[in-house]
């Protein structure tokens, strides 16, 4: 089966071709573009999907690849900047997820955009193509710099697609907000990239071939040297001298800097505020970018360089706490939302919180597992919401829906499948993955890292809220009696909407079966396929990217030790909480005419409606703190700095005037000056050289 890995560059390049086709043909010959660019996009993503699956199969036979494709700058004795591909089990899994969801979203767009008669379709499909290209290239990136570049590019695509309806008022503003907030995080990420280069001299994730180094491995060597084993790499030792910090401290700083980008992109507290606004974008875009893939980029990045993070217990604890807090915090806000996509947006934030929680608590496999299941069930829920929105003539308010169950059975059953997965009801996908995250958090927390128990508690509590808002959403949308005229007579949807829903619906129900830890534990069967998949090979350079290695790092560097707790009781607890939440929602909102119970919450409702005043405080931070600070800086700048600059420039203008006076146009003056200059040089060097 060798050969698939040679086609890896084709995976991102195919959507890039469709981007070019949509862009150029859309501009010069719109008539020639079938379906406004949808067909090239579908063909390209289908091609990517085929190659991705092929690569996946090849990887499953133990063939990995990490090689440079294009060297941008190779300076001897300094670091080189290059593009390369790295495909290991994690990347192969992610490639399949991204290309599959991208393919389905392209198909769905036929129904959501083309059938609804939207204008500017070539712009839309060009954006989708560029996004798919960037995301796939990000996934296969073999070094941090390349990852950063494509990380930025997906951010740009997100901006372009959120603001697709740029003539309306909301979308451009939401696009700007998304861009600025994620950029704030990326600013730290960029410094982190530079810091990695400066510290290690390389930004590769894995070292293959002669003389190559990988920064996670160098960090491991450095920390081992601090502990008295082996020697510290000279480059690192030199740089640590420059910074004047211990290896542990400095690496933690670097890890936190990179984490800034992750928090922005994966919408973690406190940089999550852009994601709900991003729902202004077309719904297929929300499904692809703001649920299944781009938002996953942050989490994927942490997983990609897990060999680095696993060395740093402080950073891991921060990741776990941020994740747990975000999971709970976002889930409570999702409880009171009235618009379908808003509920889903907060649930997305919350679910990525779980993944961060998983990564922070050492559950590398659990987090990757949740990344996988969440991509499918959340894309499903968004596409289902898109289908409902088509039916409701673009009214998103759940209080105007109701009773859609009978009118759109396909959407209903697939949406239900996704909801059961989201709420974490056995045996749907989300149950297995979320439960595994919580289980890992519990055993490591009960081991030697009690701080993880706080994160665990938050994650566990969030399960209840998740069950509640999910079923509130399902009941309000699909059950009861229609509460408006459009809900009485919804707009039909065609195959191009139903097909993606069915594919994802089946996946949402079944994909959890690939890693049923509690069942494996109970029966002793070896059915933890994902665990085996990510464990990594032995004895090659790639073993540094496998879970076995990470586990070793977690134990010897981060001091994580698993307590011996069987998975059944925690699983039962979280299932009970999920069912409790779901049941409460059912109790409160079922019936033909549900009432708005949110009124009873009183002050808490206002707080929740206003999203804990997150936006307000960030605006206040911008206006109340940053602006006066900037004013102060401006005053300082105007007064002191400009004073100095003005002085310098008046000196330089004066001296410039002098130079001009010297440069007076009279050639004999020049000859004099030239000769005097020469004599001065001769005298200085003659006297110091002792020539006379």
């Amino acid at each position: 089966m060798a050969g698939a890995l040679e086609f890896i560059p084709a995976i991102p390049l195919l959507p890039f071709a469709s981007f070019l086709v949509a862009l150029l043909a859309g501009y010069f010959a719109p008539k020639l573009l079938p379906k406004g660019g949808a067909i090239p996009g579908i063909v390209a993503t289908a091609g990517s999907l085929v190659v991705s699956v092929w690569a996946f199969v090849t990887v499953s036979q133990g063939e990995y690849i990490a090689e440079s494709i294009y060297t941008w700058v190779a300076a001897p004795n300094a670091f080189s900047l290059h593009f390369g591909v790295l495909v290991d089990p994690l990347a192969a899994m992610m490639l399949v997820i991204v290309s599959l969801v991208a393919f389905l979203v392209h198909v769905f767009s036929l129904g959501y955009m083309n059938d609804e008669g939207e204008g500017g379709l070539h712009r839309y499909y060009a954006g989708l193509g560029l996004f798919t290209f960037s995301m796939l290239a990000f996934v296969v990136a073999d070094n941090l710099l390349m990852a950063f570049m494509f990380f930025e590019l997906v951010g740009l695509c997100s901006y372009l697609l959120i603001g697709f309806h740029f003539r309306q008022q909301g979308p451009p503003s939401a696009a700007k907000k998304a861009f600025l907030v994620t950029r704030f995080g990326d600013y730290f990420f960029l410094i982190g990239v530079v810091a990695v280069f400066a510290t290690f001299g390389t930004a590769r994730f894995v070292a293959t071939g002669e003389g190559a180094h990988a920064f996670p491995h160098m960090a491991e060597q450095a920390l081992a040297a601090v502990g008295g084993e082996g020697t510290m790499p000279a480059h690192v030792a030199h740089f640590l001298d420059v910074v004047g910090m211990s290896a542990q401290q400095w690496f933690s700083v670097v890890g936190l800097l990179v984490l800034g980008g992750v928090i922005g992109k994966s919408a973690q507290f406190p940089l999550h505020t852009w994601l709900p606004d991003a729902m202004e974008g077309p719904t297929p875009v929300s499904a692809l970018i703001h649920a299944a893939t781009m938002v996953a980029a942050g989490v994927y990045l942490v997983a990609r360089m897990y060999g680095f993070y696993a060395l740093l217990p402080t950073v891991l604890a921060i990741i776990a706490l941020v994740g747990g807090f975000t999971a709970l915090f976002a889930a409570t806000m999702g409880v009171v939302k009235d618009e379908l996509k808003q509920v889903l947006a907060y649930s997305t934030i919350s679910q990525y919180g779980y993944m961060m929680l998983g990564l922070g608590t050492g559950g590398y496999i659990a987090a990757s597992f949740h990344l996988l299941t969440h991509a499918f069930f959340k894309a499903l829920l968004f596409l289902g919401a898109g289908s409902v929105i088509i039916a409701m003539h673009h009214n998103e308010n759940m209080w105007d829906m109701g009773g859609l169950r009978k009118k759109m059975p396909v959407t209903y059953y697939t949406f239900l499948s996704g909801s059961l997965a989201l709420a974490g009801i056995v045996p749907f996908a989300g149950f297995w993955s979320k439960d595994e995250i919580l289980y890992e958090a519990l055993i490591y927390g009960a081991g030697d890292s009690p701080i993880l128990l706080a994160a665990y508690a938050m994650g566990l509590l969030a399960v209840f809220f998740t069950g509640f808002y999910t079923f509130r959403m399902v009941v309000l949308t699909f059950h009861g009696e229609p509460r408006s005229d459009t809900a009485e007579d919804p707009h039909g949807v065609r195959w191009n909407v139903k097909f993606p829903l069915v594919v994802l619906g089946v996946l949402a129900a079944t994909v959890g079966l690939v890693n049923m830890t509690p069942v494996a534990e109970a029966t002793g069967l070896h059915i933890e396929f994902l665990h085996t998949w990510l464990a990594g090979p032995e004895g090659t350079a790639f073993s540094a990217l496998g879970y076995e290695h990470y586990h070793h790092l977690l134990e010897s560097f981060a001091g994580y030790h698993a307590a011996d707790i069987a998975p059944f009781v925690p699983a039962a607890v979280s299932l009970a909480l999920a069912l409790g939440g779901a049941g409460l929602a059912w109790l409160l909102y079922s019936g033909p005419a549900p009432t708005k119970h949110t009124e009873k919450l009183g002050a808490a409702r206002t707080l929740l409606y206003n999203n804990y005043y997150q936006d307000e405080y960030q605006v206040w931070l911008a206006k109340g703190v940053t602006l006066p600070l900037a004013r102060g800086a401006d005053t300082f700048d105007q007064g002191v700095i400009d004073g100095i600059v003005n002085a310098v420039s008046s000196i330089s203008l004066f001296s410039g005037g002098r130079i001009r006076r010297i440069q007076d146009g009279i050639v004999s003056h020049y000859a004099t000056m030239l000769t005097l200059g020469l004599v001065a040089l001769l005298v200085v060097f003659g006297v110091t050289g002792g020539w006379f």
Partner: protein, 495 residues
């Protein structure tokens, strides 16, 4: 299988010059501008192409000694043939439109080709005699080219000043050569090194000779305090000629400077006994870049600003010599190679900038920053190109100027000259100020009401765009250039 002679590029240039003369003699009455420009373009392009081919085929790996050691062909000389040839191509293409209504265009092309021959020979000169002769071969046609617009007072005045300062500098240099000869008794560069290694009694005479040689090269590269001619000559000359002199002639000056000082006066031999010339060049570098950038910041006239910025860039390139160390090894190759990279990139971006000025002169829009206001409304494509040149010259990553400056400064830091790199970085930041003034005028200011551009200068447009494409392409494909330049420096040090 026959082999081409190593000096093929030079032969091609001479042949093209003779062909231009021949065509003009045989067909004196016809309007031959296009034909002649075509011949000249073909000649320069072929020379650059041959040199590039030689380089990629590995001809430069060894040193081909020609004419009993008077001339040498190696990676360094071929590299600079590429620089001179590509700048020459751009300039000749642009001149076609610039000279549309001029008389005697044949002389212009022929002189350009002959000057280019001189510059390529400078890069290959391996004896003080050939150094001097090739320098004069490059200089004399340049004087005539600067005063080519013989009914324009500015052009004539500039040419005369250039000639007078040039004559003085040549005299100083010739005197320096004679002193070096007096102290060593030989003219060949390797032979001089051997004599000095064996020991010389005339340390003072040798030292005086070396400093005077520096004066000659500093004139050619427009380094302070031998730069006085530069602003005047660049401003008065026809803009394509300014482009040619400020890019190609400067590059050739550096080529010969690099070879003479690394071959004839190796630092590890001479630094302890006669003169530590890296210190001398460090001083020149600091003064040159500071003065060039400060003076550029106060100019009103775009062409004059570019002239001073050209002085400033000479200062950056001097870092390549200033940061050499005795026994530096790979670091020496890196920093000297970085200077060569910068000269190649500079060849594109600076030529492009001057050719944009030529375009502006062709349209008759005026010479100051204000006159350029709002040009982007009328000529957006050319203005995009000019923006690329300006930002690339300032060292922003829209063009290869970013990378070459980066490698140069990084090389200086690695060699332990962080202070020099620091001064260069401050200067570079200052330069952003005056370069962005041009960009601001082009894009942000409103045009005058009566601004209208007439004429379709195809050749000029093509040359400007080609320079812009080159500047950007080098950013993407910088690695081969970097490898070649570092390799050329390796060959130079090994020889």
């Amino acid at each position: 299988m026959t082999e081409l002679p190593p000096l093929t590029p030079q032969f091609v240039l001479v042949a093209a010059a003779l062909l231009v003369f021949g065509v003009d003699t045989l067909l004196p009455d016809r309007d031959n501008n296009t034909l002649l420009a075509g011949i000249a373009t073909a000649g320069t392009l072929l020379a650059a192409g041959t040199a590039a081919w030689f380089l990629s085929a590995g001809t430069g790996d060894a040193q081909f000694v020609q004419f009993d050691g008077a001339i040498i062909v190696d990676a360094l000389s071929l590299f600079f043939v590429v620089v001179v040839g590509s700048v020459g191509t751009l300039v000749v293409m642009a001149s076609h439109d610039y000279l549309d209504d001029a008389d005697s265009v044949a002389e212009f092309y022929a002189l350009t080709l002959l000057a280019a021959t001189g510059m390529t020979l400078m890069a290959a000169a391996n004896s003080l005699v050939t150094v001097f002769i090739s320098l004069e071969l490059a200089s004399l046609p340049s004087y005539v080219l600067v005063s080519y617009l013989k009914r324009d007072r500015g052009s004539i005045e500039a040419g005369l000043k250039y000639f007078l300062i040039g004559a003085l500098s040549s005299g100083v240099m010739l005197y320096g050569i004679s002193l070096v000869y007096a102290a060593t008794g030989v003219m060949g560069l390797p032979a001089i090194a051997d004599t000095i290694t064996a020991g010389t009694d005339f340390v003072g005479v040798l030292g005086l000779g070396i400093v005077m040689l520096v004066a000659g090269f500093a004139f050619k590269t427009a380094s302070v305090p031998f730069h006085f001619w530069a602003p005047e000559a660049y401003e008065g000359a026809p803009a394509p000629v300014s482009a040619f002199i400020s890019s190609a002639s400067k590059a050739a000056g550096f080529a010969v400077l690099f070879r003479v000082f690394t071959t004839a006066f190796p630092l590890d031999v001479i630094a302890g006994t006669v003169i530590d010339w890296s210190l001398l060049f460090a001083a020149l570098a600091v003064v040159t870049m500071t003065l060039g950038n400060f003076a550029a910041a106060t100019q009103e006239n775009v062409k004059r600003m570019l002239a001073y910025s050209s002085v400033g860039h000479a200062g950056y390139v001097l870092i390549g010599l200033a940061a050499l160390q005795s026994g530096g090894g790979a670091q020496n190759s890196l920093v000297l190679g970085a200077s060569m990279m910068h000269l190649l990139v500079y060849g594109f971006m600076n030529t492009g900038a001057f050719l944009f000025v030529a375009l502006a002169e062709y349209w008759d829009v005026g010479r100051t920053f204000e006159d350029y206001n709002g040009l982007s409304k009328r000529a957006p494509v050319a203005c995009v190109a000019m923006t690329v040149f300006m930002f690339s010259l300032a060292g922003l990553p829209v063009g290869a100027g970013f990378l070459s400056k980066y490698v140069l400064f990084a090389g200086a830091v690695q060699s332990g000259f962080a202070w020099l790199a620091g001064i260069a970085a401050i200067n570079s930041a200052l330069s952003l100020f005056y370069y962005s003034r041009v960009v601001k005028a082009l894009w942000i200011e409103d045009p005058r009401d009566d601004l209208s551009l007439s004429g379709q200068p195809t050749g000029l447009y093509v040359a400007v765009l080609a320079a812009a494409v080159g500047t950007i392409a080098l950013l993407v494909a910088f690695d081969p250039v970097a490898q070649t330049a570092t390799h050329a420096a390796d060959v130079l040090f090994a020889g």
